[in-house]
Amino acid sequence: MSLLELTDLTRTFGSVAAVEGVETTLEEGEIRGLIGPNGAGKTTLVNLLSGFLTPTRGHIVFGGERIERAPAHARVEHGVGRTFQTPQVCAGLSTLDNIVLGSHRRLAAARLRNLAGRRRTSLGALRREAAAVGGHVGLGDLLATPAGALSYGHVRLVEIARALMAKPRLLLLDEPVAGMNEAESAEVAEIVRSLPAEGTTVLVIEHDMPFVMGLCSRISVLDRGRLIADGTPEQIQRDPHVEDVYLGSLA
């Protein structure tokens, strides 16, 4: 069974279909790239998958369950994590606290257990775990810094670390290396490459073609809301249709 199955997934805004009739499947352990020109509907698709938008039509089956009507916070419980194209972190909280927030579900569960008088899963334990995750993505020296004082690239890493704290089965990355230099983006690629081994499947939107081609096992191409191609990086690079709408303009 596939981890994620999309059937006729459609979202319209007024008379404009931002995403129309998208059908695809993601297999467990995949790193899938999602590319397409500006306005193709990539972020809308991520918003549909993460519950920030509900579809006008169609189904999202995740791990065998229909989730298209579940609100955003419930998608996290299902195991869908995400980052944002424009990072959404709490500027006034430290880097560490921002990462701890990703374990919200376990925090809440710990609170309930505390009320029931069972053994305490303390905030301290989650902080230690968050520090380890932060260190893993390269934020080890910045944990005490307020997120509002971080550079753009570091804020993107905070978002990734926060999403990883929830141990997602599917992680949606919306332009994770935008505004990063080559060395930084290579580090992000390294982090993403390590995720499938930890049980996290990845869907990544990115305009940086070398990044996508080098990282992804499969790539889907979206154009004007429709999925126009699906294949390995080699197949996508050779697809004349894709070249027309996208790659050609960048090459």
């Binding site: 920030f52 916070h73 980052t83 959404q88 709490c90 909280l93 701890v100 927030l101 710990a110």
Partner: protein
């Protein structure tokens, strides 16, 4: 613990000891009665600070919960002869029922919620005024017994002060601890980055409701305390002016600060009570004080330490 934490803790403890020391020092004076009212209003403002400052829920109908607590508690005091602590429980239940009624309004955001909460407060004021059999209406309920805790009847302004101060300290500590817990972290996230919070699995609607529900508890207790200390409650105490007064206390004290709620209550109550010779210009004076404070200290009274440190830093820099 950092030096700053230790310093802050020491200042806090000294302030607390000083507050308790006021009781024997000013026993029987008008000043102590004045401080009782400051603390009661500060309690109501403390709950509002949690809603506005911690959760970003701009409630302009907080006086309704002050009233619900007062009437809920007084009913049990007068009809069932309960003592203060069980009456607190009843007050909390009634105020929470009010929070449940207000809950659908939480779908609204920003100024839209503010408007709706204002309307909620106005409706509740109308209910308080009309439900004469329960509230006594504008004439009020009289002969409310004084506070009684564990068999001790607390009469006189020293006892009242110690009771109100202790309730204030407990509520203050409870909110301080809450905001340092995982709940506080999630609530910070809801206010600072709602999208980030949702993407982390935080149920934003639920968090906003919990913050509202917790924020109605201190005003409910304040309602009972007010009624028992003054032995009378009239519906006019819980009108729109009171809601505005409470939000002003929170803003003047510093939206982000718990003790600021009490500082704001002190300023408001001082201006309302003390300048007897210029009584007719009271609101003019208050308006001027509020406007000036907001210009000089946009972070409220609670930010005075930071502002002074900043000013000192600027002086040092200028000298170099």
């Amino acid at each position: 613990m950092s030096r700053r934490t230790v310093t802050r803790g020491a200042i806090g403890l000294a302030a607390l000891a000083g507050m308790y020391a006021l009781a024997p020092a000013y026993d029987g004076t008008f000043f102590l009665s004045f401080m009782v009212d400051v603390l009661i209003l500060g309690l109501a403002a403390l709950g509002l600070q949690h809603m506005v400052g911690d959760a970003g829920v701009l409630n302009l109908g907080q006086a309704a919960f002050f009233g619900l607590g007062a009437y809920g508690g007084v009913w049990t005091l007068q009809h069932w002869h309960w003592t203060t602590l069980p009456a607190f429980g009843a007050a909390i239940v009634v105020a929470l029922a009010g929070a449940v009624v207000m809950a659908p309004l939480l779908r609204l955001r920003g100024v839209y919620f503010a408007m709706a909460s204002f309307a909620f407060g106005a409706m509740m004021f109308e209910v308080f005024g009309q439900a004469v059999s329960l509230t006594g209406g504008e004439n009020g309920l009289f002969l409310i017994p004084p506070p009684k805790i564990f068999g001790h009847v607390l009469i006189g302004n020293r006892d009242s002060y110690l009771l109100v101060l202790s309730v204030g300290v407990v509520c203050y500590a409870a909110f301080a601890l809450l905001m340092r817990s995982g709940y506080g972290l999630s609530l910070h996230a809801v206010r600072q980055s709602e999208n980030g919070a949702r993407a982390s699995g935080v149920n934003v609607a639920r968090m906003r409701f919990i913050a509202l529900a917790l924020g109605v508890v201190p005003p409910a207790l304040a309602g009972v305390l007010y009624a028992q200390v003054h032995s009378i409650v009239q519906s006019t105490i819980f009108d729109f002016n009171q809601s505005v007064a409470l939000i002003t206390m929170v803003i003047v004290g510093g939206v982000a600060s718990r003790w600021g709620a009490f500082a704001g209550a002190l300023v408001a109550q001082y201006v309302a009570v003390y300048p007897q010779s210029i009584a007719q210009y009271r609101f003019l004076l208050y308006g001027g004080v509020v406007a000036l404070l907001m210009i000089v200290l946009p972070g409220g009274i609670a930010s005075v330490g930071r502002a002074l440190a900043g000013a000192r830093g600027a002086l040092v820099r200028t000298r170099i």
